[in-house]
Subunit: 350 residues, 2 copies
């Protein structure tokens, strides 16, 4: 089976059918970009309706064991994720409430700085803020994966060190392979791996580049080079595939409510629209070609298994635990918290 660390867009029954064709056992879906608490609850509710209406194809998973059981039943496990922390509206106690409602991954920031930290597109990355440190530890406690994909490199490094559990860059690539603000520097990726984290290699053309998009072999070679940087236990797949997105969706994703102007996100004025998918990945079910493609660039069966599902499963097992929050010790933090105090304060890496 295959696990995709991140997809977004409007899923339909056809999408789910395609995921089954490709033997995708689990996918983390994007329930929100800029939505606040109420809109995020709306989104979770809509996802429940969608999953209930397609219960023969998909089911919502809360633990690694549930993912395995759902996949074994011939269905795709849905992990509810958010690409921003706006759903929390600054409230640490909402982490537990949303976790209880099924949320399993929260990206600390989307494209813009927020109260938790800096994004990859800010001129200056603030690093992980006071609020950010609290939220990361609370996400640890509640079994929510800390996603750092759109987060700035400095905040990403801070979060890797602050987190008591391994974290993830669910959908990005090494900046050394395709330079882009959305991609991660090698030192950050190595720090991620040292703490047990996982990078989900993306297929989004704007952050992958035309070369790695031009053939299955080229994309799988990008995965092989990522493994050279991070090690075989720390690379997975996070396609960043978007389903059925139209202009209003891209406008919301990029501009939200934060500008009256135009923002291109990972695109550019020269290539503003929807980026075409990789040549080898024009249909969702082409994901099923990946195990063969990875084998063809030299990975053993065991290695293919780690990249396509094993590394995510290990991470999910470590982060989600039994799906229940650990009891809160009050107060968890004091001004001179010994762990945070000894965490080296990293400046924003360029």
């Amino acid at each position: 089976m295959l696990i995709d660390g991140l997809q977004c867009g409007h899923f339909t029954r056809d999408t789910f059918t395609d995921l089954r064709k490709a033997d995708v056992g689990a996918v983390t879906v994007t329930c929100g970009f800029w939505e606040g608490t109420v809109e995020s609850l709306d989104s979770i509710a809509r996802w429940r309706d969608l999953v209930n209406a397609n219960a023969d194809l998909v089911a919502i998973a809360h633990t690694a064991a549930e993912i395995e059981a759902i996949a074994a039943s011939g269905r795709t496990a849905i992990l509810l994720g958010f690409q921003n922390s706006n759903l929390l509206e600054g409230r640490i106690r909402f982490v537990e409430l949303f976790a209880e409602l099924g949320v399993r991954a929260i990206q600390l920031t989307y494209n813009n700085q927020n109260e938790l930290g800096g994004s990859c597109y800010e001129a200056e990355d603030s690093g992980l803020s006071r609020t950010g440190k609290e939220m990361v530890r609370e996400m640890n406690r509640c079994g929510v994966l800390v996603d750092l994909s759109h987060v700035g490199n400095g905040t990403t490094r801070d979060a890797i060190l602050c987190s008591e559990k391994p974290v993830a860059v669910t959908h990005a690539n090494p900046d050394s392979l395709f330079p882009h603000k959305r991609n991660k520097t090698d030192d950050v990726l190595r720090a991620l791996a040292e703490r047990g984290g996982v990078l989900g290699c993306a297929t989004y053309r704007n952050i992958t580049g035309d070369h790695y998009c031009s053939s299955l072999r080229n994309w799988c070679e990008m995965v092989a080079k990522s493994v050279d940087i991070m090690g075989i236990d720390h690379v997975g797949i996070g396609t960043d595939r978007s389903h059925n997105f139209t202009k209003p969706d891209y406008d919301w994703m990029r501009m939200g409510r934060w500008t009256r102007g135009v923002d291109y996100g990972a695109a550019s004025a020269a290539r503003p629209g929807k980026a075409p998918p990789p040549a080898w990945f024009t249909e969702v079910h082409h994901l099923g070609l990946l195990p063969g493609g990875l084998k063809d660039v030299g990975f053993s069966a065991v290695e293919v298994d780690k990249i396509t599902s094993g590394n995510w499963l290990r991470l999910y097992r470590a982060v989600f635990g039994d799906g229940q929050p650990v009891a809160v010790a009050t107060p968890r933090f004091v001004q001179s918290d010994p762990v945070l105090a000894t965490t080296p304060r990293l400046s924003a890496a360029s």
Copy 2:
């Protein structure tokens, strides 16, 4: 043990200690009056903190079995309730989400008409609205008790008939014993009993009157008269006791954000402030006097047990079930829903 169908205010460790002294095995607390979704989540989170910090005295219950287990462990079960449906912000899907977070009782309206129905203080009671019918059925599905205490008599009767499960008037008295808009007419109380519902007799002086407040015997005689109206299986206790409320709390409770003027709720311009508690109930732990008081007005041990806990437990068992929502059948309602279509449309009773 004793079950109190409704209390409100700021609970402290002292309150919990007092409840233990009186052998209160369960109490439904008020998590909100006018609060919307986000503020209601805040309130639930605060309640979790409070309960966690006093875990030797209280625990949150989701089912009748949990109530019995918590009471058997020498603690008081907390049932999370809301005295208004504002927490839902008009979203039927939020019933399931809030139920999952522990909410077990929602009053359809507080003192003012809302999208679900009419309140006891409106000049004209609209009856249960289109939204109200949907919400009542969804509360049935999700194991949330429909509370009708501040609801108008017409909407109350509609809700009794619309609900597939028994409902409650958790804190009010018979209007025939003490005439007040907040109290319920005998015909409504009999309809409530016919459908298996329960009335929680209140001790709030403004809706109980000085006579029934003047002695334990008099209050217990009011309970006996309520039993004469509804039958021994349909009367319980719902004190409406408020803890540590000060003027800003009363102002919020009565005026919320809906008026620039002054509203007295169940009080009046002549007696605007905090109503003094009954003479026999100046301290919370005086609740422990009730079993003896009920025996003294002629109830048998079995009858006392029904009034003090058994009737609530039976209702909770029927409404909460195993604490999990029943699977949703989509679409549940159509224009010509046969059950709703045959529900007699009641005009607002005076």
